[in-house]
Symmetry: C3
Subunit: 296 residues, 3 copies
């Protein structure tokens, strides 16, 4: 692996390698010292979990951490981003963890030539890809289920604008998980082969093992969205959540919109914070593999 | 100790334990390696001294430092602060150093349940509490006086809006220091038992061993304040400062408002920078105790 | 050396000492551990290269890194910068890397008395001085030329507003490099003794060994500047760049203004990224010398 850009670039085998390593970090049986590695975070969109999780992964790998802040950078002097990154590369940055509102920018950047080796890690691109989120989600799922055959997972919420949904679907398909998507018509987006689409909650939740709720992303939704109607028909409540289902959410949660707040007190919802915890180990594994591939 | 929220939660004995440890750090006879501890600063109000002092304390304890920046966080996506912190906790943050304009928020947050152990340290809350400032102030005082009995300390300035005054009064009372407060009527605030209140500088400064000046906090004062009249009646000058008194100030100083700038050249004023220096050791001691209590 | 403020304060011998040390860092034959040193960056103007380069230098020296952010500091409460820095000094900051729009502020600050030893490093001041840029530029030049006698270097662009030009001219004069400046009349600024001034590109580029392009600094130029006419007469192109000349640029580049973008693909332009790379070693050398002089 040279970069981590998208789930579609990964084979099931590579994903399992990431998980083996993540699990070793989690159990404390693997330690890595990347004292000569220099990793920069470059977030052009807001973040709490993902950014802090990567920062912790960098620290736990004993690598050097840099935060590139676009607001006070030379981008304000008219420099283009490729030139900025090529300069960071010349200065000695070995890996860039980037979040950006553009769907394709990170792929374009990763395909260019740089002064020396540099790895790109996609920490969320536009509405299409958030591979480390999907990887940590499935890592969390794998820890909870003895077998993955016959699992049904229902994604509910703003599928159309969700890079989390896109990456999860791509990943779950590789492992033959049965995927349902539930949303009002205007939030379903383009349909993907092999996925069941529902507009009725009862049908979509029936015998589901995992409910993966998404955030209603007010900042990305341009169509009119009727929140009252969404809540009435799609909010997860104590009444409609299947008894034994794991409830997942990438965070941040809009309480009492996609999930009724009392649901968050239930045992089913503990998975949500496990996701946050597991993210660190998965990101450590990814960074460790990319930096090691560079000989760092 | 699980948190450091307020002076009122501390016994005199606990305070002395903090000071013993701070003194050991100052003398270089104690070293701590909290390599597995992850501490985040979370400042919702401006700060130079306190934030930098905590950052240095974190570094000197060999802990991992994180800066949570509200402006670029998921708080902008509608997440509430408890959820944000619980996620940071799941990610692996062990302690949060927080400054906030709300008087009670940090206590409320500290009283809640989290994914795993997490300690809160109050780095200034609203107008009521700034415990590490009071602790470093009194640590500075203790180093200068062989005995604390019969010491008189006069706090002068905007008592009403000062969390520094509130915390100092709470702490000084525990050690039986004679406390006077000096301010114009409208900046005196609610009177506290056991404290002498003055509106006349000459009386308040008479035979005082320590003068503790406060900043006129323009950002918190909503009432009309007559700066000219304040300067005329309450500014500390070469003429009114008692000859042998120690002059203290938590900083930042509005020069020529609460203190005439030439006073800052006097030997009496050297204490002000000693306060800044001592703060690092006191904060090291506090963090060291809280992290050790977590087994880190 | 106590500070690094300006090229004019340095002798040729001191510059050579910096280069010897930088070269040792580059070759990996010198390692420094400044574990007890605390270095703060303080940038009041945008920066990518310089700030990241200093951050990497601090990390590679194993010193502790702090970022002072003016926006969230007590400067917003009315504190003056000297007091802020004196407090940072008392807290334990040993060196300050400062960029500021004021030409003289850093010199004034460095001339004052502080609580304890503190070193100032000028990372760009106003329009007059950017010593570490000049030092890394000449370090890059020295690596490429067996002998420096008879070298001709042409600086082209906005000489009048360029601290890079000022510092480079001061440095190149110490080493007897033949210097030409090329710019339209209104961007030439005050003429310096020993420098040839040109308004005609062909003459200025004739037999030049090095072309050093400057950025057209739109944020500093108050006079009307005719970009179309600048491009027509002064843009560096494949046609006018001397065949064997090294092309340098401090970055960021306004592509297709000062340099045609296809020129950047040429072998001649590789020097630009070497500059970025070399900056880290030169800054390591400077910080190492200043911190060592403090016994850190």
């Amino acid at each position: 692996m040279k970069h981590l850009l998208d789930i579609n670039n990964l084979t099931a085998e590579e994903i399992n390698q990431i998980y083996t390593r993540a699990s070793e970090f989690e159990k404390g049986i693997r330690k890595s010292n990347h004292l000569n590695a220099h990793v920069a975070t470059m977030f052009f969109e807001n973040s709490t979990r993902t950014k802090m999780s990567f920062e912790m992964a960098i620290n736990k790998l004993n690598a050097n951490k840099y935060d590139f802040c676009a607001d006070t950078s030379s981008l304000n002097k008219g420099e283009d981003l490729y030139d900025t990154i090529n300069n960071l590369c010349a200065i000695g940055i070995n890996a860039i963890v980037m979040r950006h509102s553009d769907n394709n920018l990170i792929k374009e950047l990763a395909s260019k030539k740089y002064y020396q080796d540099i790895s790109f890690i996609n920490a969320g691109s536009g509405t299409n890809s958030h591979p480390t989120q999907a990887l940590l989600d499935f890592y969390t799922i794998k820890k909870h289920f003895l077998t993955l055959s016959n699992i049904t997972l229902t994604i509910v919420g703003d599928i159309a604008h969700s890079r989390v949904a896109m990456s999860n679907i791509a990943l779950l398909k590789k492992f033959n998980v049965k995927i349902r998507c539930l949303a009002p018509e205007n939030l379903i987006g383009e349909k993907i082969e092999g996925v069941e689409y529902h507009t009725n909650l009862k049908e979509a939740f029936n015998e589901a093992d995992i409910i993966m709720a998404l955030r209603i992303q007010k900042e990305r939704i341009q169509e009119h969205i009727d929140i009252e109607s969404y809540i009435k028909n799609y909010q997860i409540t104590k009444d409609n959540l299947p008894y034994a289902a794991f409830l997942m959410h990438p965070g941040p949660i809009n309480k009492n919109i996609e999930i009724a707040s009392d649901v968050l007190e239930m045992q089913n919802a503990r998975t949500i914070l496990h996701q946050a915890k597991n993210g660190v180990f998965v990101r450590m594994a990814i960074l460790d593999m990319l930096l090691s591939a560079q000989g760092l």
